[in-house]
């Protein structure tokens, strides 16, 4: 594997907020104009740094929600009630503001068409963000790699990118399924289950097809899903994961 130095990844750069879109009551997508952006690969993330007037700083990581081919770099942020950075990004930030960030980061969790598949994407809550970037990229390059997204959310109102995902704008080779774990709307015919072996067995391709699996979500979700996948016989090397803690890192 090549070891590529990414000069853009080493330095902090300033972007300007171009647009802010409400995704769910607690989540917004922030589109940024970044003059020094070197480009990214689907699945990567950035570090965002906030500085108060007295010099106090706070820093968190956020996955990139946009495909490499999209016009702007988009971050989707969920407001955590006891968070320090996310309430600022969701409640205070306005178009025209500047945001300091560093990236793209994370070569471990990238997908591009040359990596093949079949491609299984498991999203726990706001873990859907980098997986959506992967699906957008999959669509832009018109990939025919079979792909499946299984997205765990508490209720329909918590589903981020709801219109995009439910209309499945991604094409015939992409299959999108939801499991709503706390509350389901009337007439719901999707799943209601938490992670378990049976559910994963239903959704995933068998190990003999060597699917590439990307799991993203809170640490307990990632641990359970990864453990179940390995127990079902999937090769650890083909299961990539990104786990984050309750403060959105």
């Amino acid at each position: 594997m090549e070891r590529a130095a990414l000069p853009g990844g080493l330095t902090w750069q300033l972007g300007t907020v171009v647009e802010i879109v409400d995704e769910t009551p607690r989540t917004k997508s922030i589109a940024l104009a970044l003059p020094a952006w070197p480009g990214h690969r689907a699945g990567q993330h950035v570090d965002v740094r906030l500085t108060a007037e007295d010099g106090y700083q706070a820093q968190r990581s956020y996955a990139i929600a946009s495909a490499p081919e999209d016009d702007h770099v988009v971050l989707t942020v969920e407001r955590l009630d006891d968070g320090e950075v996310s309430p600022y990004l969701v409640d205070e930030l306005r178009p025209g503001d500047q945001l300091e960030l560093r990236g793209p980061l994370g070569g471990y969790f990238v997908w591009e068409a040359s990596l093949g598949g079949p491609l299984l994407l498991l999203a726990g809550g706001s873990g859907v963000v980098p997986l959506r970037a992967i699906l957008r990229h999959h669509r832009v390059v018109e990939s025919t790699v079979p792909a499946r997204l299984l997205y765990w959310a508490r209720a329909l109102d918590d589903v981020i990118y709801r219109d995009e995902l439910m209309a499945n704008v991604f094409g015939d080779s992409v299959d999108i399924r939801f499991t709503l774990t706390r509350e389901q709307p009337e007439g719901w015919r999707g799943w209601e289950r938490w992670t378990d072996m049976e559910l994963l067995q239903e959704v995933t391709w068998p190990p003999r097809e060597h699917p590439l699996v990307y799991v993203c979500g809170p640490t307990p979700f990632v641990d359970r899903a990864t453990f179940s996948l390995i127990a079902l016989g999937h090769e650890p090397g083909r299961v990539r994961h990104v786990a984050f803690g309750p403060t959105g890192v």
Partner: protein, 82 residues
């Protein structure tokens, strides 16, 4: 708060100068070889601690002192690209 190695991608980029999450680390304690992206990472501490997912031993520690990030790799027997 437990994360995985992806959570320190930025820190490692700053220290090593290139992408590290796809490198392989061999635990000096138990010999397990895994991708750096798979280490268990503890970010909320006086420093950043990465532990072997198999045996829990410390494999890497990053401490930022006076604006310089120091990294201690004594917990790794080897660190190499794929």
């Amino acid at each position: 708060m437990e994360l995985d190695g992806n959570g320190i991608a930025g820190t490692m980029m700053g220290v090593f100068g290139h992408e590290m999450t796809t490198e392989f680390g061999t635990c000096a304690s138990c010999g397990a070889r895994s991708m750096v992206g798979e280490f268990r990472v503890y970010l909320r501490a006086p420093g950043v601690v990465a532990r072997c997912r198999h045996c829990g031993s410390v494999v890497m520690v990053f401490v930022e002192a006076r604006g310089v990030t120091c990294v201690d790799l004594r917990g790794l027997a080897a660190l190499d690209p794929a």
